[in-house]
């Protein structure tokens, strides 16, 4: 596997956008990996949370935007509460989800829930889920 790091302002634009949206300084991260060590969903992820930050730091937008990890983050803030640099990763995840093609398909939409399940689910789950994972 080989990636080519682009020089010039292009990668910087992506990083700036993520920082602007999230309000977090992704360069504050020194890659200790503590977020990943404590993440309850890490087992399911293609990229660990610290790797998502790393990819953002390197400006590798395509890799980040393709990652399944974005839709595994439940915003439980465990990483945020233990991050030695106080980075709120849930915000970074949300910022990256926002950058995903705004007109694209929902990562998770109402059609994927059967009426029976919908009857059973607490309201908050639906509101939260659509807020996080649909356009």
């Amino acid at each position: 596997m080989r990636v080519k790091l682009k020089a010039g302002p292009e990668p910087r634009k992506f990083i700036d956008r993520i920082e602007e949206l999230s309000g977090e300084n992704v360069y504050a991260c020194y890659q200790c990996g503590r977020c990943s060590a404590g993440c309850p969903m890490a087992a399911e992820m293609d990229y660990l949370p610290n790797q998502i930050i790393r990819l953002v730091q390197m400006g590798l937008a395509d890799e980040v935007l393709r990652s399944k990890t974005l839709f595994l983050c439940a915003s439980c803030f465990t990483c945020q509460s233990r991050c030695p640099k106080g980075i709120d990763l849930a915000r970074v995840m949300e910022a990256v989800r926002h950058v995903l093609d705004p007109k694209g398909k929902d990562a998770f939409g109402p059609n994927e829930i059967s009426p029976e399940l919908a009857r059973e689910l607490p309201q908050q789950v639906l509101v939260a889920l659509f807020r996080k994972f649909s356009k």
Binding site: Q31, A37, G38, Y47, L48, R82, C83, P84, K85
Partner: protein
């Protein structure tokens, strides 16, 4: 607002304008400056020259002072930080008082920062005019002289304090070594083996301790605490509290009978609470002084009626329940602070469970477990059930490098001692699994990296790059949640024991003392050096020197170097016949002082005090550092800084602002 009197002065002021090659002359019209100033009131001589600091330049100054009988001179040249001393020396050779020299900075603050020649020249003239006004009003001053008490106080009896005391004593001066605990030795005596050479800490430390106790010029004051320090450099008065030991150290022969009969069992501090001691105890076998101490806080009652068992069995009649706290006063000329450090509390890291799980311990606890004189006799056993752990996880940066909730700095020695810990574990439990979680391995030091590499290559310790998030317990087993950032895998490891490399923090319980001594600390409570590069073992407070981990995390050789350096600084101080002090201080004018005492509150050095009888402020000029905060606050103009009086400032402002 007082208007400066246009002082009619018969003072003869000379002006020397330097070209500094083209550095000044390229932008400032130096000829013009010299020319314009010729007619300025008070100026008796004005000239310019290509390099004032050169030998001919200096000679020109010397000759002119003599020839023109100048009382005061202004050198318009580079920043005073560069050549003020040079020109003062030249003037001194011509018989002029050094406080009659003014440096007008027309290079760094004019010719080098402006390009418009006309403006720069005008600015140079303003600057020079200001200094002429000041020079007209400068007094000749002599440094203030004070005697030196050639006796040092060392606070803290760890390796830094012991080394400092030994060095000062070997220089030929008397030393008081004050230690708050019953024995000297500090943290180093608790360590097992030291990196990277693996010498036994006690083996190299005990001879030093004994030497300190036997040195004819060292007075050992263990179980003592410094209460307060008054006075100033060369002449400190120290109040020291002697805590009652309830055992006469001169009589105690270490028979240990008292300990056998004592019914009170408490956790042993020396073994980090991993074993127990009695209320009457010897801190550790090699303790210096070698005497038992009765810990009153845990004794059943200091009275033969309550218990009295120890007193009964003591053949030497060394136990004295009536011993009282006592304050002693001593005179010293210089003070070395070596109060050491403590480890960050494990309670602060709830996610690691250090407070909950017995087998999650800190590095110092593990040192005791490794130590041949420790609670397990050097066999590695875990605290909960005494089993030999088959797997230990070491967690570096526990609390360090965490800007958000804990300590932002690197504790510097943990990488090395963790390597040592894991190596020693593998030496003693060859079939055990040692795993180290790290963020970076920092091995800057002589033979450090080789040592670390040996740990990995020869002792097969598994280093995993990632920070642990949490430690949980299932049954008897600890489970460590980590990550390997190199492979991008979240890892969970079972461990029988976890050792946390806790951050090093300011020593517990000395902050009050430092506050009383007005010793400044950094935001983490470590001592602040006078200059981080060039004055690393001095405090900003004259006469105070610093050494060891009280300044910040460091290893043994570095602490010892600092201790020797601080001792050398003491030698430097004591070798002077008398001390000089800058005379540009702020006296109080009796005539003008209303006794409002505002200036006293302004002074950070305690130099000003109230003469209650006369109702005016008096100044100890030796303590005054000349900041002038009091002068600015004085409502009566009674506090005037020598050679920077309000009158001088007003006159300078007028001259600098008026065309």
């Amino acid at each position: 607002m007082t208007k400066p009197q246009t002082k009619k002065t018969d003072k003869r002021v000379g002006l020397f304008v330097c070209h500094c090659g083209v550095n000044i002359a390229g932008v400032v019209d130096v000829e013009k400056v010299a020319q314009v100033m010729k007619d300025y009131p008070g100026v008796s001589f004005s000239a310019n020259y290509v390099y004032m600091c050169s030998d001919p330049g200096q000679q020109m100054i010397i000759d002119t002072i003599k020839e023109k009988k100048l009382d005061s001179i202004i050198i318009a040249a580079c920043s005073p930080t560069l050549h003020e001393k040079t020109f003062q020396e030249a003037a001194r050779l011509a018989g002029l008082n050094p406080y009659q020299i003014e440096i007008a900075n027309i290079r760094e603050q004019d010719s080098w920062v402006h390009t418009d020649k006309d403006k720069a020249t005008k600015k140079a003239i303003r600057i020079v005019k200001g200094h002429v006004e000041k020079a007209i009003r400068n007094e000749s001053l002599e440094p203030i002289k004070v005697d030196v008490t050639r006796r040092a106080l060392v606070i803290g009896g760890g390796i830094s304090g012991i080394q400092a005391a030994l060095d000062v004593a070997d220089h030929g001066y008397e030393v008081l070594l004050v230690e708050k605990n019953p024995s000297i030795g500090g943290k180093m005596i608790q360590l097992s083996e030291t990196f990277p050479t693996l010498d036994c800490s006690q083996c190299i430390m005990t001879p030093k301790m004994v030497e300190a106790s036997r040195h004819p010029r060292i007075k050992l004051l263990t179980y003592h605490e410094v209460e307060s320090v008054s006075g100033f450099v060369g002449n400190f008065k120290v109040r020291i509290k002697r805590k009652p030991r309830y055992v006469d150290a001169t009589l105690c022969n270490l028979c240990g009978e008292c300990e056998k009969v004592c019914p009170q069992v408490v956790p042993d501090e020396f073994n980090m609470g991993l074993s127990f001691r009695k209320a009457v105890y010897l801190p550790f076998p090699q303790a210096v002084p070698g005497t038992y101490t009765l810990d009153a806080a845990n004794c059943l009652g200091l009275s033969p009626v309550r218990c009295g068992k120890c007193k009964d069995v003591c053949d030497k009649k060394a136990i004295d329940y009536d011993m009282k706290e006592k304050i002693i006063e001593e005179d010293v000329g210089g003070i070395i602070i070596a109060t050491g450090y403590d480890l960050y509390t494990m309670q602060a890291l709830g996610e690691y469970g250090g407070e909950k799980y017995e087998d999650v311990i800190n590095g110092l606890e593990f040192e005791r477990i490794l130590s041949a004189s420790g609670p397990t006799g050097g066999v590695i056993r875990r605290p909960s059930d005494g089993q030999v752990p088959k797997s230990i996880v070491f967690v570096q940066c526990s609390g360090s490098r965490d800007t958000e909730k804990h300590l932002p700095y690197c504790s510097k020695i943990c990488c090395m001692y963790t390597a040592k810990h894991s190596m020693l574990y593998k030496h003693r439990v060859p079939d055990g699994q040692a795993t180290v979680f790290y963020i970076d391995v920092r091995t800057g030091g002589k033979a450090f990296d080789e040592f670390y590499q040996r740990t990995v290559e020869e002792d097969k310790v598994l280093y995993i790059r990632g920070k642990v998030s949490k430690i949980i317990k299932e049954g008897d087993t600890l489970i460590v949640w980590g990550v390997d950032t190199l492979t991008g895998k979240k890892v969970e490891i079972e461990a029988d024991m976890v050792v946390l490399a806790m951050a090093m923090v300011k020593a517990d319980g000395v902050q009050d003392l430092l506050k009383r001594l007005k010793i400044s600390t950094d935001i983490h409570g470590f001592l602040a050096e006078a200059h981080p590069k060039l004055r690393p073992v001095e405090s900003l407070n004259a006469g105070f020197f610093l050494a060891g981990c009280a300044l910040g995390p460091k290893d043994i050789p570095e602490a010892v170097s600092q201790a020797s350096a601080a001792a050398a600084k003491i030698g430097d101080l004591f070798s002077q016949k008398e001390l000089s002090h800058e005379p540009t201080v702020v006296p109080a004018d009796d005539e003008k002082c209303s006794g409002c005492a505002i200036c006293i509150t302004m002074c950070p050095y305690g130099a000003r005090s109230m003469d209650k009888e006369r109702g005016v402020v008096v100044v100890n000029e030796v303590l005054c550092e000349g900041c002038g905060a009091c002068a600015a606050a004085c409502p009566c103009g009674a506090a005037q800084q020598r050679n920077q009086t309000d009158e001088q400032i007003f006159a300078m402002v007028s001259a600098m602002l008026r065309e």
